[in-house]
């Protein structure tokens, strides 16, 4: 009788381990998810920095030209205009003098980034795993 219980428990544990790994993916998948979370965090940081630009000034021509904003809390201290993994620049577009858009290419389907808690409702999902975040400079001033 107890042998049956032991076999049953082994089967249940094997199912939990197998099912769990099948759902969450292996170590490589986890690494890609972490990298995507970092990219999304960088988008939020860039949005905060660009929203900080004074309304009387035009938005900078490039991310590299954007000045740090002392009042803004950033997720990355060493905010770079380049993707730390691929080395590709984040795609920054000036939609007008005061409106902008920053985009990043994720390694995985952006829907998976929900799991990391970094994908926000105001992020726009585009084809090719591209996620964009738009904004306006100095929106509260």
């Amino acid at each position: 009788m107890n042998r049956l219980f032991l076999v049953g428990f082994c089967a249940l544990i094997a199912a939990a381990i197998g099912g769990g790994l099948w759902v969450v993916g292996g170590p490589h998948h986890a690494r890609l998810m972490t990298q995507d979370a970092d990219r999304l965090a960088a988008l939020v940081d860039w949005q905060n920095r660009l929203r900080c630009v004074d309304r009387s000034d035009a938005l900078p021509a490039s991310l590299a030209a954007a000045k740090a904003c002392p009042d803004t809390v950033v997720l990355h201290d060493d905010l770079s205009p380049y993707d730390a993994i691929t080395g590709e620049p984040y795609v920054y577009t000036r939609l007008s003098d005061h409106e902008f858009e920053v985009c990043a290419s994720l390694a995985l389907d952006p829907q998976e980034a929900w799991e990391t808690g970094r994908l926000r409702a105001d992020m726009e999902l585009r084809a090719g795993n591209v996620v964009c975040l738009a904004g306006t400079s100095a929106p509260d001033r």
Binding site: M1, F5, L6, L21, V24, M33, W114, E115
Partner: protein
């Protein structure tokens, strides 16, 4: 005031002197010993008419038993908790479109299971083999205590699930997701209860 050891020695001496058990019981009760103390003291000696009286086997306590059974019990507790955690997180993912943090929970739970499950299985099978070779090990007091502790935890868990189910029913939250998660706990806790219940019954044929 006399200790239980002195009581034991007195009973032994009385039996050696050929006194009847009823007579010994009467004098001890008269001296202030309780009925259960007298019963235990007499029960420590076999009733076979042989002199000197034959001591009955008693529960044993050893540091080795404590290490093995406490480790096994700890692994069971941690493993069972994380097994439920992983299976419930999988249910959450099956029912919800997005479930923030579920993948991290699953990764952690799977890590715990990969370490604890084989170790628990190895310790349990090893102990069962030893018990089969030497049934005297069934008298380990620590084994008995920790087995009853496992039964207590399993029974308490089943009670809490039952209460939570009734509460969910009354609040209108008895969804398919809730039922699936409750069933997982019932299967795991119920399985552990029956496993150890069978085990203790085998060790206590009386």
């Amino acid at each position: 005031m006399a200790s239980r050891d002195e009581l034991r020695i007195f009973v032994r001496d009385a039996l050696v002197a050929g006194k009847a058990r009823g007579e010994i019981s009467t004098v001890l009760t008269g001296a202030g010993w309780s009925a259960s103390e007298v019963h235990d003291a007499l029960n420590a000696w076999d009733e076979t008419p042989f002199s000197p009286p034959i001591p009955r086997p008693v529960a044993t306590v050893s540091a080795r038993d404590f290490f093995v059974y406490a480790l096994t019990f700890g692994l069971l507790l941690i493993g069972a908790f994380n097994l439920v955690l992983v299976l419930q997180a999988l249910v959450d993912l099956a029912f919800a479109e997005e479930s923030y943090g579920a993948t991290d929970l699953i990764r952690w739970g799977v890590s715990v299971l990969i370490v604890t499950a084989p170790l628990y299985l190895w310790l349990t099978l090893r102990e069962r083999r030893k018990l089969a070779e030497d049934p005297a090990l069934y008298r380990s007091a620590i084994r008995k205590w920790l087995t009853y502790l496992a039964l207590l935890f399993a029974a308490m868990t089943l009670l809490v699930v039952l209460i939570a189910t009734v509460y969910a029913l009354l609040t209108g939250d008895l969804t398919g997701q809730f039922i699936a998660k409750a069933l997982i706990v019932v299967v795991v806790a119920g399985g552990i209860f029956l496993f150890y219940f069978n085990d203790i019954r085998r060790g206590d044929p009386q």
